[in-house]
């Protein structure tokens, strides 16, 4: 394999994992948007908390890595239930400005609680995987990387199946399409709201817990990821589940290629420019028929 091709493969491989994480976060965000009509600016904080709780449970509590990951997700789920009961329940049918301001406030609150608890220095989740690289025909990777890829990919597929194949997913989709009619046929809307919110939070927390092994876990990481996830949601079409998955992968790959061939400082701008262009020329999203 030529060197150029190997480098390209390396960039693409790096992009896929980040893309999977974006997809997981955007899936929850787009569901919450579709079902609850809330642009949840605090969504990235679930990702951040997933990462920090995994770090906390492994490093400071001394839990086994494979136990710590689901525990971290479970704790975030608990938090999401509390938030739904205390705050998000009140945002039903509220104007856009209200829901946005409240979720921005919540995002600041969670970020700075994390700062208070764990400090500003970037942390990393210790993993039991050996750091030795694996050579895949010129492209190098690590066991941790392959594990993370497998987990995030499995979660995406699982999330997709839940939405497409289960009764719960069907009820969510029905609520998304028509709230009143769904209530009329006996779907308990309050429960669907709760399930959607918690499910979305769990996916984001899982992404954070898994990626915490590579990328620095810090209190400010949630804000950036929220914006990226919004980019993905707009690219894929707001409320479109499939669009969130494809959009997430596309953004991850585009950023990896941008960082590799253009400039790492500007890679974050790719998504933001893309959003403006998409809203200008294809406001319904890239993957939806108008």
């Amino acid at each position: 394999m030529s060197v150029q091709l190997a480098i390209l493969g390396q960039h693409l491989l790096n992009g896929v994992l980040v893309g999977c994480a974006y997809a997981l976060i955007a899936m929850g965000l787009t569901m919450i948007f579709g079902v609850m009509n809330i642009a949840n600016f605090a969504h990235g904080e679930f990702y951040m908390l997933g990462g920090f709780l995994a770090f906390y449970l492994v490093s400071l509590v001394g839990l086994n890595y494979f136990v710590a990951l689901p525990t971290a997700v479970a704790l975030v789920v608990l938090l999401a239930v509390l938030l739904q009961h205390s705050i998000f329940r009140r945002l039903r049918d509220a104007p856009t400005m209200t829901t946005t301001l409240v979720t921005i406030g919540l995002s600041i609150l969670l970020e700075h609680v994390a700062l208070l608890l764990w400090g500003p220095q970037p942390q990393s989740v210790p993993t039991p995987f050996p750091p030795s690289p694996i050579n895949l025909g010129g492209i190098y990777t690590t066991p941790l990387y392959l594990f993370s890829m497998a987990v995030t990919a499995a979660l995406i597929v699982a999330g997709h199946l839940v939405i497409r194949r289960t009764r719960m997913g069907k009820a969510m989709r029905a609520t998304f399409q028509n709230k009143e009619a769904s209530a009329l046929v006996g779907i308990r809307i309050d429960r669907i709201y709760m399930l959607t919110f918690v499910f979305g939070a769990a996916l984001a927390a899982a992404a954070g817990a898994v990626l915490g092994g590579f990328i620095p876990v810090e209190p400010t990481m949630g804000g950036v990821v929220t914006l990226k996830a919004f980019v993905v949601v707009i690219l894929g079409g707001m409320g479109s589940f499939f669009g969130a998955i494809v959009g997430g992968l596309l953004l991850g790959l585009a950023e990896a290629l941008g960082a590799g061939y253009l400039s790492s400082g500007w890679k974050d701008a790719i998504g933001f420019f893309a959003v403006i262009l998409v809203l200008l020329f294809r406001p319904e999203g890239l993957f939806r028929r108008a």
């Binding site: 301001l101 406030g105 700075h112 707009i234 701008a269 933001f272 420019f273 403006i276």
Partner: protein
């Protein structure tokens, strides 16, 4: 709609007298500094209120306009030695132009999409300030800005660099902004703003273009924010990409929401309160943003009119209030 005591002409005049006396009474440099920063944020909060309170669109790009103005002025000073007197109008014009171009794209969208693109715009601006190192010096920022002397024909050059003097410059700028915006929202344009906010379909059916009036509020608001940014840059003497941080827009929104959106006086008071309050909480620095986040959640959910006007109505007997037609 009934006018609250805070908007009575006599109340405004009394406030102005008190504000004029501030440097005579407050000898502490640090408190004067807070008064100056409050004054700059009064301009910012009032200009944000045009968009958030009057046409009812939540723009999260306001801090980016403030920072863009600060950078414009700083670059003109550092590269071309243009003083603040050129910098302020230049910053206002550049940000107003940026808002116009952005507005052409985003004012056709509403709701979530509008909000999200204003964030995307802010992030692009931040990345530019950080990565365009040849021009902006990246993270190092642009230092060394100065406050110029004020030359008045017939009187000569006056040094305004001291805090006592610069306070008056900021005060004049804030009062002029307030009067201009009040004239705007009480005019036909201001009534169109409110109609667009309350019922866009009705506005359009009456031939009032929502796009056009959103654009007017957006461009004027951005221009004022940019001018305020220029004032701030020259006062602090330093600009860096931190000016684009999201926390700035949060603080601005808290000023407007808690002050009482759509009232101009409320956000102005909010700007003063929320410049002083964080400093009084200095002991508990790490709690500051936690408190701010909580305030934003609670105020948005439970205090849609802010704190100032409901509090005044509670405290002041109703017979003291005057009746006066106004736009909001």
């Amino acid at each position: 709609m009934r006018e609250t005591p805070a908007q009575h002409p006599i109340a405004l005049l009394a406030t102005l007298v008190v504000l004029l006396a501030v440097p005579l009474v407050v000898r502490d440099e640090y408190f004067l500094h807070l008064f100056i920063v409050s004054g700059i944020f009064v301009i910012v909060a009032i200009s944000l209120d045009l968009m958030v309170g009057y046409v009812g669109q939540l723009s999260l790009a306001h801090a980016a306009f403030f920072a863009l103005g600060a950078y414009t002025s700083a670059l003109l000073f550092v590269r071309f030695k243009w003083s603040m007197w050129v910098g302020i109008p230049a910053a206002g014009l550049v940000t107003a132009l940026a808002a116009f171009l952005l507005g052409l794209v985003i004012l056709r969208t509403r709701g979530h999409r509008f909000i999200i693109i204003t964030v995307a715009f802010s992030e692009i601006m931040k990345l530019a300030a950080t990565n365009w190192v040849d021009v902006t010096r990246g993270f190092m920022g642009l230092p060394g800005l100065q406050i110029p002397t004020l030359t008045i024909p017939g009187i000569g050059a006056i040094d305004i660099a001291s805090k006592e003097r610069f306070y008056y410059v900021v005060l004049i700028a804030a009062v002029l902004t307030f009067l201009a915006c009040r004239a705007l929202v009480r005019s036909r344009i201001g009534r169109a703003f409110v109609l667009v906010r309350e019922n866009e379909v009705l506005a359009e059916s009456l031939g009032i273009s929502a796009f056009r009036y959103c654009m007017i509020a957006f461009v004027i608001g951005a221009g004022l924010a940019g001018a305020a940014g220029s004032l701030y840059a020259h006062y602090v003497g330093f600009v860096s990409p931190d000016l684009f941080n999201f926390s700035w827009v949060t603080v601005m929104l808290i000023m407007v929401i808690l002050g009482g959106k759509g009232t101009l006086v409320g956000p102005a008071l909010g700007a003063v309160i929320f410049t002083f309050l964080p400093e009084l909480l200095r002991e508990a620095l790490q709690w500051r943003m936690i408190i701010f986040g909580t305030i934003l959640i609670v105020a948005t959910l439970f205090m849609p009119r802010g704190i100032i006007f409901p509090l005044l109505e509670h405290l002041v007997p109703s017979r003291w209030r005057t009746r006066h037609a106004r736009a909001a």
